[in-house]
């Protein structure tokens, strides 16, 4: 049996927010390449915090976080953009740009990396096609339904073909059927080798897919 290098590795990680609140404590786990992992727990358990540590949006107060072998606590802030370019991020509060249309929102990650326009446009359309929004590329995000906005976030997250996809409550405001289609999308990305971490408290979904679960309770691993 060969051990593969984990893409994400938490070792005794703690996170104390300014003000003293300890959102995570003693969290240790590894994620292998191509794994599909649920991060679960009650509201306030620390799910979002955990994902933010992976994307270097927050820094760990103790322990080490490794992503693709890079120690994030030793990472210079100048290097953070390059870390994030290999991550597809889907946020709990979406963070779309509401003054740009659907197409331009998806183009943003490619503009940031300086992709040639023609190639970038082709990729953006491919991503929009994958989430079924190709016909809406000229629409403003505000004109989309909640589920469509969520899919737009997914398109923006995958357009750079990241190795790791992090999604924070991607189905939170959606009905069961819609949630299902979105989960199918994540499954299909996972099947082509993308490592997927999804934070959710939607127990029904977890029952259905039964992949690996990292459960948090009051900032600690519950299993």
């Amino acid at each position: 049996m060969t051990t593969v290098e984990p893409v994400i590795s938490f070792n005794d990680v703690s996170k104390r927010y300014p003000g003293g609140y300890e959102a995570l404590a003693g969290v240790t786990f590894d994620v292998a390449p191509g794994e599909f992992v649920w991060i679960t727990g009650h509201s306030g358990a620390g799910k979002s915090t955990l994902l933010k540590l992976v994307a270097a949006i927050e820094r760990a107060s103790g322990g080490t976080v490794l992503v693709n072998g890079q120690n994030l606590s030793a990472l210079k802030s100048r290097a953070i953009p390059y870390l994030r370019r290999n991550l597809g991020l889907i946020f709990q509060d979406q963070k779309l740009l509401y003054d740009r249309n659907v197409f331009d929102n998806v183009m943003l990650p490619l503009a940031v990396t300086g992709h040639p326009y023609r190639d970038a446009a082709r990729r953006a359309r491919a991503a929009l096609d994958k989430v079924g929004l190709l016909e809406r590329e000229r629409a403003l995000p505000i004109a989309l339904s909640g589920g469509e906005q969520q899919r737009l976030c997914i398109a923006r997250a995958i357009v750079n073909r990241p190795g790791i996809l992090l999604a924070d409550e991607p189905t939170a405001s959606l009905d069961a059927e819609y949630a299902e289609t979105i989960m199918t999308m994540f499954r299909s990305f996972n099947q082509v080798g993308v490592t997927v971490l999804i934070a959710t408290h939607d127990q029904a979904l977890i029952e259905r897919w039964r992949p690996r679960v990292v459960a948090l309770a009051r900032g600690r691993l519950a299993t």
């Binding site: 953009p81 963070k95 779309l96």
Partner: protein, 302 residues
Amino acid sequence: MKTWTRHHLLSLRQGVARLFAAPLATLANIGVIGIVLALPLGAYGLLVNLQAFSGSLPTEPQISIFLAPGKGTSDHAALENRLKSASGVKTVRYVSRESALAGLKRSPGMAEVIASLRDNPLPDAFVVTLADGDADAADRLEHEFRTLPGVAHVQVDSAWVRRLDTLLRLGRTAVLLLCTLLGFSLVAVTFNTIRLQVLTQREEIEVSKLIGATDAFIRRPFFYFGSLLGACGGITALGVVFLGFRLLNRDLGQLGALYGVDASLRFLPLADSMAVVIFTATLSWLGTYISVSRHLHSVEPR
């Protein structure tokens, strides 16, 4: 290299788009910068013109010695010898009252005035030029000549040219001072404008950081925005000064025509005008730099 060009083109487009996104605010900003800078720029333009004018004047000191009326030619000859032997004198020229009147008649507008006179009011005179342009020597000789017999009045003709030169130098210092002060205010105006820009672009900055934009990528449009603002302000200032000179030239043209001279103001040369635009763009760039360095990292994604 290609990526670099693409990034800059994109940033330029974004910078321009942000200028047009709030056209009224942009116009107000450009207006403020333009009008504030028109002040020292106009003063500088006037100064350049005055300098050209003063440069065309003879600066070597001349002393005119007007003689008391009723002296004979023998007195004149004696006086001429005394003048010639004074130290520091280069040439001595005699101007009789008749030739002085004839010269005056040739000046435009004077002929009628002189024709109306019953007799010649002008005195005989000597015009002395000095060997060197030293002001002290001129003063010493002025005193010496004043005591000579038969001399009614002595005048150092070049004194006002030198005074003009001194004044011009003073003016130049004043303009420089004004430029420095208003340069600071230009930096301050851009600083503030960029601060507001950062606030309005908050979401875009945050999202860009989250999807892997480098600081340089985020700053670049601001630099284009700020520098363009400064350049447009500089061009506006040039426009204001240009219009001002046009207006002045209309009046000056009439005045000049009365005296038969070309009294029009020349606009700043192209090189100077370009320097002005580069200067304002650079100052705005500086204001942007300070502002962006201070305010951009207050926008951290959460």
